[in-house]
Every structure is written in structure tokens, then in C-alpha cells.
Symmetry: C2
Subunit: 364 residues, 2 copies
Amino acid sequence: MDYRELSTPALTIDLDVLERNLDRMARLGRDQGVGLRPHTKTHKTPEVARMQLERGAVGLSVAKVGEAEVMTEAGLDDILVAYPVFGEEKLRRLAQLARMRRLLVSLDDEATAQELSRAAGAQGSTVGVLVEFDAGFHRCGLPPGPACVDLARKIQKLPGLQFRGLMSYFGSVWGTEEARRQEAEQVAERLGQALAAFREAGMPVEIVSGGSTPSAEFAHRIPGLTEIRPGTYVYHDLNTYYQGACRLEDCAARVVTTVVSTAVPGRAIIDAGSKTFSSDTLRAGPGAGHGYVIEAPDAPLIKLNEEHGHLDVTKSLHPFRVGEVLTVIPNHVCTCVNMHDEVFLLRDEQVVASWRVAARGKTR
Amino acid sequence: MDYRELSTPALTIDLDVLERNLDRMARLGRDQGVGLRPHTKTHKTPEVARMQLERGAVGLSVAKVGEAEVMTEAGLDDILVAYPVFGEEKLRRLAQLARMRRLLVSLDDEATAQELSRAAGAQGSTVGVLVEFDAGFHRCGLPPGPACVDLARKIQKLPGLQFRGLMSYFGSVWGTEEARRQEAEQVAERLGQALAAFREAGMPVEIVSGGSTPSAEFAHRIPGLTEIRPGTYVYHDLNTYYQGACRLEDCAARVVTTVVSTAVPGRAIIDAGSKTFSSDTLRAGPGAGHGYVIEAPDAPLIKLNEEHGHLDVTKSLHPFRVGEVLTVIPNHVCTCVNMHDEVFLLRDEQVVASWRVAARGKTR
């Protein structure tokens, strides 16, 4: 079936583009001399995670315990929960998973470590722990230096926990290549401070995890980094395009949508709104608009209601008509995928299969 | 179980508040002399739809065929698909539903009417049709006047379709009460033009459907309006609060979340981000921020990543600590509910049950 025959709105993935993106990042990791532990938050799909592991990824990253469960249920292993999980029910599930799988968790607080230790003790499991430091992005993480060593020492003393190294969040700079290079220098300096403190304390740091899709090519500029966690590169989106991290033809995920109204002059309304694309704004490039219409780039998607997308067609040469199928590259593919129960897979514009987005909505 | 013991993030609904909101809108509809056909897009839950019908609603509104299916599978009837559905697969499902239930569809294009007629013919069913006119919000809808009559005449001639009246979208003004009053006047004028054209043509208009939560109290100012489609009023949110359409204590839906990091000075990070709240911005009031923290209104939720919420605690008197449970009123409850597979129901802060958000993600 041609993708234009899909019931709309539908999210499609071009398999050739996906495979090319996977190959390229696998190669980039090898070239940069770092392990690849891709973040599954983008695809939330065990099938893609398996393709990543088959291409040499050292493991997987997730944010939530529910995502880790989906991946382990699919038989996958070596998962970093790159999130300071807190709460008895979630930590119990995490400790249960650690009985069957190699599991790492990042955290930045003694209370979290204590709760995790208690949960691991109750399950008789061991969980590897990475101490999160703040690489300058002011989200989570201790200041790089003695505070990290202090927490690592406490972790070493807690039963069921094993201190394995450091983790940080960086690589979200929405700017030029030069801005990303400067970011890499800042991260390198702060990681250097953290590592110096551990050296001084005589504590080995086995793993240092950090990085994203746009920052991946700068990994070699951050001495001590052992693995990176890019996510978006599998499908790419308008944000990574405008960041210069991909070409438009590397965007594997597209929303197939139908024009449902042209009654209002200057507008064409499509059957995809914020409940199909998500409301995430464009963080780079023009910084406005909700997607790129392949068939009519001169018709900006200026507004989303929940189920309506508003194309401004006043300056478009395209003759819009009700019933016409359009394809749109979303601003932010990670939140877009999370709106969909399934994605449809294309080869040469033909729908060849579908995947369930098995970890969609796993917020816990 | 106290709601603070829920695994987080979780979306809770206070049943007392919900029932009060339902009662109030049912009364408002009666007082305004219009039927209530609530839009189920907010709750996407048959249990709430049933409560609305039990309180005298004349029917239900949905945007998508999948939402209509969820409601009919739950045994509910008389559903307006307030959306110009286009596409063979969806229209077939719609026509199938029309064999079992009273169904209305709104549309504004002859091509849509023809496709719907074909689908109804194939299923041997009859679908009621409302012609959508543009009340001045420039989304869908024909200009009020002869164009509406022309389309209605074509619908009358198409087999399987029954022209029933008019529909319009309005009531999204994010301003003062005065702005909403002016909006009502504009809508009244445009509806008047549409109705005059039908009078002139000697065609009766049985149903005129329009309106929203913030505009509900102005329904009596729009002569000819027979029913309103408010959605948000069931749970309310920060947008309807800042529009003056409710009090803060009328917000029935709250995200229960845990503080997971306080390592970065001036920040507290909660375990709920855009995949829990949605990224919908605040459209009224301060126009910034992502939610209202009940326990610490002086700590604005300034930023969302996918799974992290950033509280700016620099000016807060609240002593944030990791593991602490907070409750947050979302900006836009319709898109927030759509992120969740289930909602937890509270009476006096105790979790008494849960509902599956059965129509969540039904984009087709």
C-alpha cells in the first residue's frame, strides 16, 4: 500500500533513512572513540533498540522505569536509567529488573541512593550507580568536584549499590556549530574538575556518560567521556535539521495528514494538531511554526489546535484541496512519537509493516 | 490510599469537584435555554460522558471517529462528530457507527459530503449533517450566508445524508469577560446572517451548535443557538482559571509529582515534564509557566524537558527536598489528559478508583 492510502493522521518511518541514520551514528561513535548508549526516549520501540544494539551500541538509555521494563521484556539488556528515580513502587520495579538484567541508574542525592539501596536489598539485587554532575545546564547534578566524590563514597557503603562512574546531561544547545564547540569545551572543563576530584580521592571512575545528537560529533573534545546517549538521531526532526545535525532527507519520521477544510480564505486545515504533533515549539532556525510541509514548503503550519493544523496558504503556489494528503516533518520527533500507539514503516513509499510504540506513555 | 502515596507522576481527578463542575454546567445550560452537548475531548472517558448524559446533556461531541467508537462501545448514543472527517477508512467506520447510533457530522465542503454519502450508502446507514460556518475564528467553516445554503441543498440531494442544521467553532477568546461578550456579539451577528439565508431559502434549521467553556455563560446572547459544546469545564485548568471561567478550587485535575533533584542551586526538579503535562503554553493570565504548584505557588514551573519539570525556587519560601510530593494544576487539561492511560479518582484526598482514558490517542 502506498503511504498516501493510510488512514490519517498517521506517523510514518522511512526504514532506509532510519537504517542510514543508525549506521552513521554507530560509525560516529567508533570514530570519536566513545561507546554509544542511545536514548530510547525518541523511538520508545524495542525493534529500534535492537537495531541499535546490533550495530554495536554498548547498551541503552531510558528515562523511566516503565521504559526499562518494555526494553527488558523484549529481551534487551544493559540499560541505563538516566534519571534520578524516586518512589517506593518505582524503585521496587527497578530493583526487580536488576535481578535479571545489567542495570545502571544515575542520581545526585543521598536520599535517592538510600531508597534505591533499600529497594535493592529487599529484592536481593545489585544496581550500578552513576553520580550525576551538572555540566553547566542547571537541570540535575551536583557541582563537579568533591560533592560528587562524597556521594560516591556514600554509595559505596550502601548495600545493593555499586558505584560505577559519572553521568551528565548536555548537548541541548540550540545554536551554531561554534556554540556547540564552545559547549563541548565547557563540558570538558567541568568533567575535568569532577575527574580530578576522583583521582585525588583515589577512586576509579569506570563510566562517564553524556551527550546528545547535536553534540555527538564533539565527543572527542571531552577527554574522559566513555559513552554518549544521543536519541533524536534515529528519526531526526526540524530541530536537529535547523541545528545543522542532519539534512532534511535524514528526517525519517513524517506525519501523513489530510486537508479537511479550505473554506476559510488563506487557510488550509489538516487533520493533525497538537494531539498528533505535540505542541513542542521549534527551538532552532526560524523558531516558529509547527512542522515542515514537504509538498508545500511555502505554506507554514502556523497554528495547532488539538486536532486541527492551520496552514497559512496565502503565499503558497500549491493548489490545496479537501481530501489531499500531505506529509509533514515534526518540530520535535521525541514528543511526536509519544502521541502515537503505532508507527507505519515505509520502503520506497510503500507501507511494509508497523511497530507498536511499546513504551509510549510510560511516565513512571 | 492517600494520593501522596501514588507512584508519580500521576494524574488525579477530585470527584467532588468534577461532580460540582458537571452540575454547574448542566444548570448553566438550562438557565441559558440551550442544550448541552459536551465535548468529550477533555476527558476522553466514557464514565464522565455518562455522568454528563445523566445530568441532562442532549448528546456528546467528539472530534475523531475513534473517539465516537469508544463512546458508542460504552453504550452511549447521540454523538456529534464536530469535525470534517475525510478518508475512506474513517468514513466507513463512521457510517458503520451510524447504523447503530444517532450520529451527526459537521462539514464545510461538497467533496466531504460526497465521500460521506458514498460511505453511508455502502453501509446502508443515514448520517445527520451540520454545515459548518465560520463564526469569525477562521479555522473551518463557510462564510455565513448563501454558501451555507448551497452546501445544505447539495447535502439534501445526497443519499444517506440528512441536513440537520449548522455548527460553528467559537469561544476560544483568551481575554477578559468584556472580550468574550464582544465575541458573543460577533458570533450572534454572523449566525444571524447564516440563519437569514436559510429563512430566505425556506429551509428549516433544526440544530445550531457552537460554544465552549469560557463562552457558555454568553450563550443566551446568541439568538438561534440551540446547543453548546463546552469541554474543559469538567476538569478546568489554568487557562480557564485565568480566563475567569472558574476558581482555582474548581480545577479537578492535578498532576501528582515527586521532587527528584535539588542539586542545582535555585532549582527543584520534578518527575513530570512535557510527556506528562503536554507542552501547551498558558494562553491567559501571566502567559508563561507550565503549571501551578499548589504547595508552593511562589515556585514557578518555568521549563519542561520531556521528563523533567524545572521549578524556579529562588524566590520561594518552601523548603524543597528530594522525595517530596507536589501537586500541580496543568495549563491545558485536554492535552494533559491525553498523555495519560489512566486517571486516579480522589474523594477527600483518598484514591478510591481509577478510570482508563479509553479514547486517549484516538487521532483517527
